[in-house]
Amino acid sequence: MSELDRDLGAWAREELSREQLLAAHGTAAATFVAVHDRLTRAAAAVAVPAVEAGWAALLARIDAPAPVVPLRRPRPSRTLSIAVAAALALAGIAYAASRGSHDGSPAVSPATTAPAVAGVFSRWHGRGAPGPTATTAPPAGSHRPSGSGPSAHAGGSTPAIDGGAGGGSAKPVDDPRDRDQGTGNDGSHNDHGSGNNGPEGSPPPESHGR
């Protein structure tokens, strides 16, 4: 703390007179004193509102119910965003359905799309539960040997559209005669979810019929 600081403090505490302060520090102290005086004078000049009238007005405001401010205002842009998102989602679903119907199958049925979902589901969970196609009736023309249902596959081998999901045993190359593209037992043979790796009706290399 400088000598000036100390003397200014002493002046503020009335331990030092203004004359003594100015005599000791001259212009430097005069600057502080001048600003101090201006602030003091301006603050003192502020008019104070009438106390009792102000209190009465305040009481009236206290008694008035507090204004309710809605936390969220409806925004048109939000509605528009939701509508666009919904339209995109519907378009995506319709596109996926149309792709599924153009792969040679006679019609789109729940069984053509459900295995993919079930296959992904079974991959996520690594459980051996049969997928939806295991409990739905196979399309006409297919056959399934007894005791060789999907539940017999380790790892829940519900076949998936990509041929690799759902059991993980499908081979990368499909039999050209196969129409199911790994999606189910809708074609000329039953691959038991393990890929098209053999002639019609032949059992997969492992795990079936046990």
Partner: protein
């Protein structure tokens, strides 16, 4: 007892803007104010009325300096928010006036926003305004150039009328540091005012 720079050095012909009575820096005054606050927190309007009367001058000065104009609605808003938020006030040694000061600052900011201004602008005194109004506007413009802490010290000491000890309690610092900040603030104010002169 240390007398604040404001109160101790005020010339005889200038009335001191202090907390005006009960809420002062004397132990009895502080204890009396604490009791009023506790009663007001329990819903005693008369007690809050006493607090209102005690602190009205200081709040009026703050609002006047912050807004650059008299605004009774803003002053009233400060006390209305204080009443509604009184239950959240905790006596931690910080003067009640400092709590009101915080509310007043927010009310002033909101009021300025409402006027379409995010920050108080420098306003040169207009021609024809009352001399003291011009002086307040000039000082206000200079105060806005101060760093935050120095501005708080100036406002708490000159407008609210706190002692160094009270300001130190409000700002979480020491009275010596408050003293130093005050003189630095006055020096900075002098420089700004000289530039504008």
């Amino acid at each position: 007892m240390e007398v604040s720079a404001f109160r101790g050095s005020t010339p005889a012909n200038i009335s001191a803007p202090s907390l005006d009575g009960k809420g002062g820096d004397e132990p009895d005054g502080r204890e009396h104010e604490r009791a009023l606050v506790r009663r007001a927190q329990d819903g005693d309007r008369d007690a809050f009325g006493d607090l209102y009367r005690t602190h009205l001058p200081a709040v009026s000065r703050l609002v006047r300096f912050r807004l650059g104009a008299e605004d009774e609605d803003a002053v009233s808003e400060v006390f209305l928010r204080a009443w509604r938020g009184l239950r959240s006030y905790r006596d931690t040694g910080v003067p009640f006036a400092a709590w009101l000061y915080g509310i007043a600052r927010h009310v002033a900011i909101d009021s300025l926003r409402k006027r379409g201004r995010d920050e108080p602008r420098d306003e040169l005194p207009e021609r024809g305004v009352e001399p003291m109004t011009a002086e307040i506007l000039t000082l206000r413009g200079a105060i806005e150039h101060l760093p935050t802490e120095q501005r708080q010290v100036v406002e708490l000491k000159y407008l609210v009328g706190m002692t160094n000890e009270e300001v130190a309690a409000a700002m979480g610092t020491t009275p010596g540091a408050v003293n130093a900040k005050q003189w630095r603030a006055l020096k900075a104010l002098a420089d700004v005012l000289e530039e504008r002169a």
